[in-house]
Symmetry: C2
């Protein structure tokens, strides 16, 4: 059955049933004018929107994974604050010809990601549009929040995981769609279709005050490092040879370093570390796959040091909306 | 200049400058991965989406008023909980050919409504789409929240303001657009284009515990009263002759009562009052233009009593997404 035949109220009542769990901090969930929850004293708020054909393609993105991603891109922002996610609201504008099964799978994916992260869906809104638009808002708490503005000259720069994989996955989809992808490059697809927020790592760095500044790599290293430098009033030097690149990306991409620097959509964390905290972070490196990739410098320039230690300016070449 | 030539970061930095006021409870506003605010212990959360050609038409809706409405429809939900609004996040998907001036006016309207209500814009997201979509999320606090589920048989039913005006305004726009509208019916246009949330009334009813159940009339009396009855497990009887209808609607509409019952989008409150609180509410009636329109009954039926006290079932005939 298509949504236009199902009706808004029946859609909402199905969502409500699917998320009908009780939780002590949710005093009023879906079904009133607003949700009422027990809020933390230090409240995090973030919102992200996903638009069909701009942020995902319907044919390429399995609805279950899209539901997970719609929540997880927000959870990555909470991770980047060193926070713990609490509640979610989901606004959706859907074409009337969307199949009921698509929405059911989308919500099942959303629910699976919510359960993994301990997030309660407490409200939302539904409307109609010619293309699918999904707006998710997430609350969280941060007892020792990590802003973008805390980096100082002398801090080391770390990243988690490998970079450029999501951009590689997107390129694969653009080239040939989701089918017939060979096994060695599947991690790239997964990084784009089903990104995993680094909640444990972010919370740990926050709680133990190991990160002086932090951001998630949703825009790519070049852009996100520029955000840290701008907010902190510092410069940076990144060593090209230390950028972590996966085997899959090295195998698939013509210029893996460019994708790692400029690709964007990596659900990884970029953070800076004071010299005094270096030893503690080094002990976490293997477990959380952390790479030390450079250092914060005085001044405002951001440079990339290549082979033979030659440096060149690192310019933001990442994804930009409205630039098409 | 059009947005596609302006670039996302410049758009965001302009919004940030426009909303760059400091407020003690906003620890980190626009410009980090998430906003960090001092949250209340009893936190309200609500979200609403507006979609071009579904919820508004670009040619008919002055951008300044659309910016006000995008926030105010959420504030109406906070009012209906008896709450006080605190923070807002705005997600927007915009076509690249939108003019910079349109966005500036939209944000100016949003800001004017935010200032009137004491709301701080703390974050958001921007993406691109073929049609405009606006997703606003608002937080609030409610020390004595009013749910939909508290109505009991014997409670009186009240509404604020006059009903059906927004639907009348929408009908006017559909007929002939915003131009050449004669003065007597302008209140209808205003009700649709620039609805005013009943924040003072909602907060007062909450604080003084005068309302046993409350909802805003965004779906129309027939639908919203059904929500109250469903959540409270009760029925209701509404007196047709006591539904408040404006002079403008009476003058313009062929069937004003139908619009008042089924129109929707009225930024007014529907609430129920225990017999013991009736005298206190009556004293507020003139100041807040309150009308006593019926009573809560046992059972689950919702009836409309017309002339000669003949009753008929009041069925939800309001606006439904996906029903087109």
């Amino acid at each position: 059955m298509r949504l236009r035949h199902l009706g808004e109220r029946r859609v909402i009542s199905r969502i409500r049933r699917a998320f009908g769990e009780k939780r002590a901090d949710v005093l009023l969930g879906i079904g009133d004018d607003a949700a009422l929850v027990r809020g933390p004293a230090r409240l995090l708020l973030t919102t992200d929107i996903l638009v069909e054909d701009e942020d995902f393609r319907l044919a390429d993105h399995p609805p279950r994974l899209l539901g997970r991603k719609a929540l997880n891109v927000n959870l990555s922002d909470i991770a980047a604050m060193g926070g713990r996610p609490l509640h979610a609201l989901v606004g959706m504008a859907l074409p009337g010809d969307v199949e009921e099964g698509w929405l059911r799978q989308f919500m099942a994916g959303f629910r699976s990601a919510a359960r993994e992260a301990g997030v309660a869906l407490v409200g939302g809104d539904l409307s109609q549009a010619d293309e699918i638009m999904i707006a998710v808002t997430v609350t969280g708490e941060a007892q020792s929040p990590v802003a973008r503005s805390g980096a100082r000259p002398g801090d080391a720069i770390f990243v988690s995981g490998t970079l450029g994989d999501a951009a590689g996955g997107l390129r694969l989809l653009e080239k040939g769609g989701i089918h017939g992808v060979v096994k060695p490059v599947r991690p790239l697809l997964e990084a784009f279709l089903d990104p995993k927020p680094r909640l444990k790592l972010g919370a740990l760095l926050g709680r133990r005050r190991l990160a002086s500044a932090m951001i998630d790599l949703s825009d790519g290293l070049s852009v996100d490092l520029a955000h840290i430098c701008e907010e902190s009033g510092v410069g940076a030097e990144v060593e090209a040879g230390r950028i972590p690149i996966s085997e899959a990306l090295a195998r698939f991409a013509r210029d893996p370093l460019d994708m790692a620097l400029n690709g964007g959509e990596d659900s990884e964390l970029l953070f800076t570390v004071r010299p005094a905290a270096l030893a503690a972070v080094a002990r976490l490196a293997a477990r959380y796959s952390l790479s030390r990739t450079g250092r914060i410098t005085p001044g405002r320039r951001i440079r990339l040091a290549g082979p033979g230690n030659k440096t060149r300016p690192l310019r933001a070449g990442g994804f930009e909306h409205f630039s098409k």
